[in-house]
């Protein structure tokens, strides 16, 4: 009886339309989910930096994997500076399709200035029809006020907000998590392997940091832990005479 009343009270205290606490996006890997307190927090900003510019493709893959997990057929916006498109290429529809994302539910916005990028991200985040917003910036400082605004906008709609960077930065940021990602060798005897990344969780507001080697599995559309398939310390394929399965 008391418990039922408590539940009713709890329901009344909640403002309408808002569910209990922020939604969580589990990555499906228990070690990471435990560190993140259940999974990646939706409705918050996450920062993913490439350890160097050449690793931007890996960062894109990691981010798109998260987007893919966020919804069955997520509608996502990719907002990028003109420079970045010229340097690193634009998202390729055929590649998106292979990644399990539907290209027709994707909108690309190219902007000339950093200011416009942050504004467009904020606008897209405030829209309830958008499940994920990815902003990609080349380098340089980013205004902490802008980051806080993005976090607020994401919290309003509960969308997944990702900020990609071409290189790690040290500036103070209110992002919920901060990752540094670089690509990892996945080559086997039959050629290049599946998308594989080393993901360092360097900042986490809800738990410890950590490092994992993840692989994106196209067939079932999720991340799998690749640590056990290949040791991280020595890239075995540097020595072709020693075949490592």
């Amino acid at each position: 009886m008391i418990a039922r009343l408590r539940q009713r009270l709890l329901a009344l205290q909640r403002p309408p339309g808002i569910t209990h606490g922020p939604d969580i996006l589990p990555l499906g890997i228990s070690a990471i989910d435990a560190a993140l307190g259940g999974g990646l927090m939706l409705g918050a900003l996450h920062e993913i930096a490439a350890s160097g510019e050449v690793h931007l493709a890996a960062v894109t893959g990691f981010a798109l994997g998260l987007v893919r997990l966020a919804a069955p057929a997520p509608r996502f916006f990719w907002i990028v500076e003109d420079m970045a498109v010229a340097e690193s290429g634009a998202l390729h529809g055929a590649g998106l399709d292979a990644f399990g994302l539907t290209p027709e539910r994707h909108v690309t916005i190219s902007v000339a200035h950093r200011r416009d990028l942050l504004w467009a991200m904020e606008e897209a985040l405030r829209c309830r029809a958008v499940q994920a917003v990815i902003g990609e910036i080349r380098g340089g400082e980013i205004d902490s006020v802008a980051v806080r605004r993005l976090s607020h906008a994401a919290a309003e709609s509960g969308a997944l907000a990702l900020l990609l960077r071409a290189s790690p930065s040290n500036d103070a940021s209110t992002a919920a998590t901060r990752w540094i990602v670089h690509t990892s060798s996945a080559a086997g005897p039959h050629g290049p392997g599946a998308p594989r990344f080393v993901a360092h969780l360097v900042r986490n507001r809800r738990g410890p940091a950590g490092s994992w080697i993840l692989e994106w599995s196209d067939s079932n559309g999720q991340f799998i832990l690749a640590t056990h398939t290949q040791p991280m310390a020595t890239p075995a394929l540097n020595r072709p005479h020693r075949q490592v399965a």
Binding site: A94, G95, P103, V107, A124
Partner: protein
């Protein structure tokens, strides 16, 4: 128009000159010069000989035309049907508009007052036909003539008032026909036989026997709402408030016909005669005033200081340039689709429609042509990807890169000849050692086209540090014997 520089010459009579054929002649003269009996058409050398002190300025037809067009824009405040009749005339169709000013007389008075304030010398005439109005303004007594009076006042005017080519005028003059009255009652068949059909057509048009179409400079919008202000407005908030109020008026008109706006223009008439035109596009037919207002919030924000209200705007006009039938509810979308459209509109209004794009699959097997990014506003339904998806599954297409470079970048490679993958390559000055490769996947050039380019052999390679690239060799070694260019290598994309 050039400013005259020093005070001494300011008092000198001013003439404008231009080259006609091989002769420099006067094209326009000011009042002082006219009193010296200089007139347009006189040779410059002759004018100089008569009055060495005149100030001579070369004509600038481009600037004249630009000025005429800006005046035409400004005249949109009276009627949407304004046509430029270069070099020096404007035609306004004021049928149905005069009552807004309280009658023709008041409209003319208003126009006269404003043009005088702006410092223009002009002559205004109102008549039932374009030809009659033109004749009255250029040759007769500028005034207002009712329909049916044309014949009476055209009779004494010279034939040049009929807008005839000079050669026709000359041949008419040769036989002593100088006034319109001379030909008005002549038998028509011989007149046409001798001087061509142009004479009769112009006469009929001036008299109102034949319809003369007016080609407006700007297309006439299907829906227009406007507002004049007793006191000019300058603040952005006021402009936005008035935009919304005008949009509300348009809403009723559009609802009645079941239309929605796809392209909207806000014209702001500045007190000094400058007209600011701001357009915004929408991704679906729109008639909600709040949403239309929101588009202009972004447009004005993007303009920033470029709006430049000066001493304020004394009139605003909102016109729907393109309207489309508007379904009460979007099919298959619901609330989400509507919200997405709003977002796309807002982003496109602020950043420009070309910057907000969606990918559309194309019917091509060349990777860079297989898709095209089109403005998200213009495409409501992105089709083609499900077909591609099925094709990719059935054909077991090898993996495609996540990011494709805007154009393939040439790389230096060491590769096995003739068909092997590269062993190492240099891209953007960095050397990559290839440890694994997959391929080749041959993509033939478009052999049916001249600019098809050679066949490409694509390889998916992974380098020592784990970076995965999409490379291709353009051209085949076996074609070398037939005189083809040596194959070259390119990097086209990157895999995650």
């Amino acid at each position: 128009m050039r400013e005259r520089d020093d005070a001494r010459r300011r008092s000198a009579p001013l003439v404008i000159t231009g080259k006609r054929g091989n002769v420099e002649i006067l094209t326009a003269v000011d009042d002082a010069a006219e009193q010296l009996s200089l007139f347009p058409g006189l040779a410059l050398a002759q004018a100089r000989a008569m009055h060495p002190g005149i100030d001579v300025v070369a004509e600038n037809t481009d600037a004249d035309l630009a000025l005429l067009e800006s005046i035409a824009d400004w005249c949109l405040r009276y009627t949407p049907l304004v046509a430029c009749d270069a070099p020096d005339s404007l035609l306004l169709d004021i049928s149905g508009c005069a009552h807004l000013y309280g009658g023709e007389q008041k409209l003319v008075a208003d126009l006269r007052g404003r043009l005088e304030n702006a410092g223009f010398a002009f002559s205004l005439a109102v008549a039932g036909t374009i030809g009659a109005a033109w004749a009255a303004a250029h040759h007769g007594e500028p005034a207002s003539y009712a329909c049916g009076e044309e014949r009476a006042f055209l009779t004494p005017l010279p034939l040049s008032a009929l807008r005839l080519p000079p050669t026709t005028l000359a041949s008419l003059a040769r036989v002593g026909l100088k006034c319109i009255g001379d030909i008005v009652d002549l038998p028509r068949a011989p007149l046409t036989a001798r001087f061509g059909s142009e004479v009769l057509r112009q006469l009929n048009r001036a008299l109102g026997h034949e319809h003369e179409p007016l080609t407006p400079r700007l297309p006439v919008a299907p829906y227009v709402a406007e507002q004049r202000f007793a006191e000019p407005i300058a603040r952005e908030e006021d402009v936005l408030a008035i935009t919304e109020r005008l949009a509300r008026r348009l809403q009723f008109a559009m609802e009645r016909r079941g239309d929605g706006a796809r392209r909207i223009e806000l014209a702001l008439f500045r007190t000094d005669g400058v007209v600011r035109r701001i357009t915004a596009g929408t991704s679906r037919p729109l008639r909600n005033p709040g949403e239309i207002g929101a588009l202009f919030v972004e447009r004005l924000a993007a303009l920033g200081d470029a709006l430049d209200p000066g001493f304020g705007f004394d009139m605003a006009r909102l016109s729907v340039l393109v309207a489309e039938p508007c379904q009460p509810e979007q099919i298959g979308g619901g609330e989400d689709a509507a919200e997405l459209c709003r977002l796309v509109d807002r982003l496109s209004a602020r950043l420009g429609a070309r910057r907000v794009r969606r990918l559309v699959a194309q019917d091509s097997h060349i990777p860079e042509l297989a898709e095209v990014a089109l403005p998200a506003q213009t495409i409501n339904d992105v089709a083609g990807w499900d077909v591609f998806h099925r094709y990719r599954k059935e054909a077991e297409l090898s993996p495609r890169p996540l990011r494709l470079l805007t154009r393939p970048e040439p790389i230096e490679t060491v590769a096995e000849v003739p068909d092997g993958p590269p062993l190492r390559f240099r891209w953007r000055r960095a050397l990559h050692e290839v440890i694994a490769a997959e391929g080749p996947e041959r993509i033939e050039g478009t052999w049916w086209s001249e600019h098809g380019g050679p066949a490409r052999d694509y390889f998916r390679v992974e380098d020592k540090s784990g970076l995965r690239f999409w490379l291709f060799r353009a051209g085949l070694y076996r074609d070398l014997a037939q005189g083809a260019a040596a194959p070259t290598w390119f990097l086209h994309g990157t895999f995650a």
